[in-house]
Amino acid sequence: MRADTHDIPTLKVLLVGNSNVGKTAIFERFVDDFYDPETTTATIGVDFRSKIVEVRDTKVKLNIWDTAGQERFRSLTSSYFRNALGALIVFDLSVYETFEQLPLWFRELRTYSSDQQVATVVVGAKLDKVGSRVVNRSEGMAMADKNGAGYIEVSAKTGVGVVEAFEMLIGRIMDTPALWKDGDVLARTDSVVAVDQVEEGTRYCGC
């Protein structure tokens, strides 16, 4: 068991996007195949879960970081971006403003995720809300294209597209030579990581 999880590559991926677009619902549907609108709460800080999935006959362990959406906590959430290989950038298909802010999220990711390329997929959420859609598919795809991202529409409520969104993201990580080579995550040099750790570790410690 132990050897198993250690042998398979681990990918750190993020869920980002404005608040209340449904990041946590997508996260819970994917990890636990669970959806309950009654128990939903605003994410504060970050939640973290793992799941092992198989894409293109390769098993990978996804470490998924579900972040809080509100700007006020950006200085915290952005520090989670480090070393992420990919991100689902989520917006609400029924709230135009959350779509308009996608460029901000791309910028945020580029700024904070380290200097490597990050694979991205734009996710239009709440597909089940028939009749409330205010962003159409072609508009969404155009936005994703412009930023070099994949595009998919999902519903955490029905489960449509959720697994596919993560698979699409993993596929894009595997297709990015700077991130993935010969069936494994490209090793970042240890010394670089070590330096990062020191910085990160001491940032908020005044001692």
Partner: protein, 416 residues
């Protein structure tokens, strides 16, 4: 502390100042770490050693007699004392080893077929609030008032649910402890007028749609399983993405909008504030009183929600200092895991454990923390207690920041 050399003040706050005059506040950071570290090692070892020492039959008969201080200064006695110390250390180590072995055996038994990397396989009971005495009862409370309705009491063990809505007015400084009942009723009526004035401001000049929506979307996902907030039997306007609302949800929205008027320096609603308001509203069930209790609590918490996040950073940093001081071994381990930012305590410190406990536990915990008994920063010590409780598991099993975060999410007394 200037009044007690054994007492260290951690992140002293003006609320602590009645006991410790501000001019003499000794900041924790002023002291040199090397000294504190040594001190910590000695006290830790001392405490552990003393404990195991007293348990040991040999120690009980031969080592216990304490020497007066004057005698200890003589070289001969010093030598004996040093040997005594060596024996103490030996006994301490021996006792610890026994304890560790026993624990390890237990763990081995529990985790045999489980994946080591999957943390959190050990049974960790939920955090219980251990009661040292019963909460303040309505009868006791009534007996605390004199004939003019002035109060004389120390509340430090929580209060009975029936009198909570009265006691909280004092604890949250809505009414002064020294007020008479006549004074209180005039204060509360003046507060009502003031509340209505703040409310009128945003009624007359409604906030931006964006701000209104920011509040709405959080209120509609705050404690919805509570009977007050569960129904959605009132229709919402066309523009709202929600299916329905109810009177109490609308009250929460009004209160949060009114707070924006009362405290414009926060520049609008911040996530987490609905979590702070909800328990207060449930207890008070009166919008005027809930509003002033909320502002009372927010006076403490405001720094957590500021744009620059300095309040949170300072508390996380204080917490980091505290861990280094109290649990150096754990500190070193967390350092090696790149986890010294203590982000895994962010939510707990931001909204005072609201998401980690059930509502009735939160009422109790908050009212105890509000008393400022021992420290106005007791919520940080509470975090320390939670961390300590998980210390061994963290040290022995967690091998990365992500695992620490995962462990926190799954195990730190999460009840929702």
């Amino acid at each position: 502390s200037p009044t007690d050399s054994q007492l260290y003040l951690v992140n002293p706050h003006y609320r602590d100042s009645p006991e410790y005059p501000p001019l003499h506040l000794l900041s924790f950071k002023d002291a040199k770490w090397s000294i504190l570290e040594k001190f910590s090692r000695i006290t830790q070892l001392g405490a552990r050693a003393a404990h195991s020492l007293l348990q040991h039959p040999v120690a009980k008969t031969h080592l216990l007699p304490h020497l007066p201080e004057s005698l200890q200064r003589s070289p001969e006695v010093r030598k004996v004392a040093d040997e005594f110390d060596l024996a103490r250390v030996y006994l301490a180590k021996w006792a610890q080893k026994i304890a560790e072995d026993a624990q390890a055996d237990q763990r081995k038994y529990k985790s045999t077929s489980l994946e080591v990397a999957q943390v959190g396989v050990f049974e960790i009971d939920n955090l219980d609030i251990v009661s040292r005495r019963d909460p303040l009862s309505p009868q006791e409370w009534a007996a605390c008032f004199d004939s003019s309705g002035r109060l004389s009491i120390t509340v430090d063990e929580g209060v009975h649910p029936d009198i909570r809505n009265q006691v909280w007015l004092f604890l949250l400084h809505v009414v002064p402890w020294s007020s008479s009942s006549i004074e209180r009723s005039s204060i509360l009526s003046a507060k009502r007028d003031e509340y209505i004035r703040y409310k009128a401001r945003w009624y007359e000049t409604p906030p931006l749609e964006e701000e209104r929506f920011r509040i709405e979307k959080d209120v509609h996902r705050t404690d919805r399983s509570h009977p007050l907030f569960a129904p959605d039997d009132i229709p919402v306007p066309q523009s709202s993405p929600f299916v329905g609302t109810n009177l109490h949800l609308e009250m929460l929205k009004d209160l949060l909008s009114t707070y924006n008027e009362y405290n414009p320096s926060l520049q609008g609603y911040v996530q987490g504030m609905s979590d702070i308001l909800s328990p207060i509203y449930i207890v008070m069930q009166d919008d005027n009183l809930a509003f002033w209790c909320f502002t009372g609590f927010m006076n403490r918490l405001e720094r957590n929600f500021r744009n620059d996040q300095t309040g949170m950073k300072n508390q996380l940093s204080t917490f980091c200092d505290l861990v280094r001081f109290v649990e150096p071994r754990l500190y070193n381990h967390l350092e090696s895991l790149d986890s010294l930012n203590f982000f895994f305590f962010f939510r707990m410190l931001l909204i005072w454990y609201k998401r980690e406990f059930k509502l009735d536990e939160i009422f109790r915990l908050w009212e105890i923390l509000w008393t400022d008994y021992l420290s106005s920063q007791f919520h940080i010590f509470f975090a320390m207690a939670i961390l300590e409780r998980h210390r061994d598991t963290i040290i022995e099993n967690l091998r990365g920041f992500d695992q620490v975060l995962k462990y926190r999410n799954e195990r730190f007394g999460r009840v929702h």
